[in-house]
């Protein structure tokens, strides 16, 4: 369905929408990259596995985003997209990206963490949506 950034005065809101919960998460992950750089500038060269669990879909979303943020930080990578599978409370993902290239990516900010501000995970207007504000 798609992703977008939404207004927050000091930080950035990220929103993903899809036919399934997993697709909404995938789209929100692209929005997360868009906070830092243009996603199309990132080559999906290296796969990185992500795995998180939570019974509450809202906290599962935060755990998912925080896992991506952690991998971005310690691997010094950016991700083009993430394939997500959700079974019950368990999420498995493979993030596809490459190491930060300052000249090419021109990354603006590090994302510090996902916040519970404007946090929403659920169905809206006939599709799944996942959103929150991330601290930059």
């Amino acid at each position: 369905m798609g992703w977008e950034l939404f207004y927050h005065e000091a930080d950035e809101g990220i929103r993903g929408a899809g036919e399934t919960l997993a697709e909404a998460f995938e789209q929100a992950a692209i929005a997360l990259t868009a906070v830092v750089t243009e996603p199309e500038l990132v080559a999906p060269r290296i796969p990185v596995s992500i795995e998180v669990t939570d019974d509450d879909p809202k906290f599962l979303f935060l755990a998912f985003l925080n896992a991506i943020i952690y991998e971005m930080a310690v691997r010094r990578m950016l991700f083009h997209h993430i394939d997500v599978t959700i079974e019950g409370s368990h999420l498995r993902g493979v993030a596809h990206g490459e190491p930060v290239d300052i000249g090419r990516h021109q990354p603006a900010v590090e994302v510090k963490g996902a916040t519970a501000t404007e946090l929403f995970v659920g169905q809206k207007d006939g599709h799944w949506q996942a959103q929150c504000v991330v601290d930059v």
């Binding site: 000091a10 925080n66 310690v74 021109q106 900010v109 590090e110 963490g113 916040t115 601290d135």
Partner: protein, 476 residues
């Protein structure tokens, strides 16, 4: 913000009346224009903070308050642990102990102007800045724990700082009560290559000229004279603090949900200060504070090395180092009684006045330097704390100008390269790895810092001492 819901208590003081589940009123310190320009979310967040258990006095907002998460940025709240008071990860923020320090250089503008572009290049090449940057220091787990206990003291012991700096840092360079054992493996992993790095976003190292004095007597005591060149460093606890904030925010939010605590906003995630999770958070948060103090000390060391090579006659001495995302245990007199409180300042600076025993002898007569960072094209300020403000806001003041628009809006309005060229035309040399980052940090994306500090002074939070004009900026 709709002023009709506020009671004006003075030209620069506005009360958000206590009602509903609020335990105390809210107090906003700002001019009418600044309050009017504040987002409605600030109203909601000041009100929500006022509902938290054990809050004392009021839920305060500083003149630069804007929409944060849970607490407003520019929010101050104190809690009494002996009366069920809480500690809140959201009330400190992700960048624990983010702060500003100001260094004298011993140089005059006329000595620096001819070499300014080369000096900025050298600083940019020496101090790691921006997304993905790493430092020269790589910490093992054992050394990480030593750093988390020792703060700036640890950096000095390693040879990355001067002993005389330590008394010019809040907490005298080392926050007591740090518990590295509560800092997770993930937080340590995020930090092991990030010591001595600036970070990105609104973090910077800036060369500045002392442009105007408002209080010449205090300026003299602070060693600030017109034309002096000084250095501001703005950064925090890097990946370690971000990870600790992330982990405890979720843990506290879940714990509140599980125990049936009705939070007005999930992001107010908090725990009783004397609970197990509250104590664990305090231990980890204090360790992150030490990480920030060590980080700014190491960046100072790198700046000193650069100046020693480029301008040997320079002597970089530390005026003061303040943190503005903190939770500190402080003793305040409330209703005639001394109480030990946990004072949360999120995007707010401690501003203790003359005579406070926490301050070193040289600031006993003046109050502490309060360092206010502006945007890269405008100005920064040195203020001084006021003793009488300890009754107004537990001795707190603003921390910066605050954003006037989102990063996305700024990207649409400005181009980084053109901004760099325009600023160079005004004598301000910007060095940044990211032109997109520069666009998002455009000077006009921020509120008017002059109005913010004027409000701080008029509200009696701190008094203006000096205005600093930017000369060169290393942006992350």
């Amino acid at each position: 913000m709709d002023l009709s819901r506020l009671i004006q208590r003075g030209e620069y003081e506005w009360e958000l009346p206590q009602k509903g589940s609020m335990r105390v009123p809210g107090i906003l310190y700002a001019s009418r224009a600044l309050v009017e320009a504040m987002d409605e979310k600030v109203y909601e967040q000041v009100r929500n903070v006022a509902t938290l258990p054990g809050i004392v006095g009021a839920s305060y907002a500083m003149p630069d308050a804007h929409w944060g998460y849970g607490f407003p940025i520019g929010g101050v709240a104190a809690f009494d642990p002996e009366e069920g008071g809480v500690v809140s990860a959201g009330g400190v923020g992700f960048d624990i102990s983010c702060g500003v320090r100001l260094l004298h250089t011993g140089l005059h503008i006329e000595q620096v102007r001819p070499i300014l572009p080369d000096l900025m290049d050298a600083l940019f090449n020496t101090i790691p800045a921006g997304v993905g940057s790493v430092g020269q220091i790589h910490l093992t787990d054992l050394r990480m724990s030593e750093m988390l206990r020792g703060g700036a003291w640890w950096a000095v012991e390693q040879g990355w700082g001067r002993p005389e700096d330590l008394d010019h840092i809040e907490e005298h360079g080392r926050m007591a009560g740090a518990m590295p054992e509560h800092v997770s493996r993930h937080a340590r992993r995020r930090q092991c290559d990030e010591m001595g790095t600036l970070g990105s976003g609104n973090h910077y190292l800036e060369l500045q000229e002392v442009a105007d004095l408002y209080d010449p007597g205090t300026a003299e005591r602070f060693g600030l004279n017109p034309g002096d060149v000084v250095i501001s460093i703005h950064c925090g606890s890097r990946g370690l603090g971000h990870q600790i904030g992330t982990e405890f925010l979720v843990e506290m939010a879940k714990a509140a949900q599980a125990s049936g605590i009705a939070l007005a906003d999930r992001e107010l995630a908090c725990a009783p200060a004397n609970s197990e999770v509250g104590q664990r958070y305090l231990g980890a948060m204090r360790a992150a504070t030490n990480c920030a103090l060590a980080n700014r000390e190491i960046i100072t060391h790198l700046a000193r090395q650069t100046f020693a090579e480029m301008v040997p006659e320079a002597d970089l001495t530390l005026l003061y180092d303040v943190s503005h995302n903190t939770c500190k245990e402080e003793i305040h007199t409330v209703d005639g009684r001394q109480r030990r409180l946990l004072v949360h300042r999120k995007g707010a600076t401690r501003a203790f006045g003359a005579g406070n025993e926490e301050l070193p002898p040289e600031f006993q007569q003046t109050g502490q330097p309060v360092l206010i960072g502006g945007s890269m094209g405008t100005a920064s300020y040195v203020l001084a704390g006021l003793a009488e403000n300890e009754e107004r806001s537990f001795g707190s003041a603003c921390h910066g100008s605050g954003r006037a628009m989102s990063r996305r809006q700024a990207r649409k309005l400005w181009q980084g390269r053109k901004l760099v060229d325009d600023l160079r035309g005004r004598g301000i040399h910007v060095r940044s790895p990211s032109m997109r980052g520069v666009a998002e940090e455009a000077p006009d994306a921020y509120k008017d810092v002059n109005e913010v500090v004027e409000s701080a002074e008029m509200a009696g939070l701190a008094r203006r001492v000096a205005r600093l004009r930017p000369l060169g900026v290393v942006k992350g």
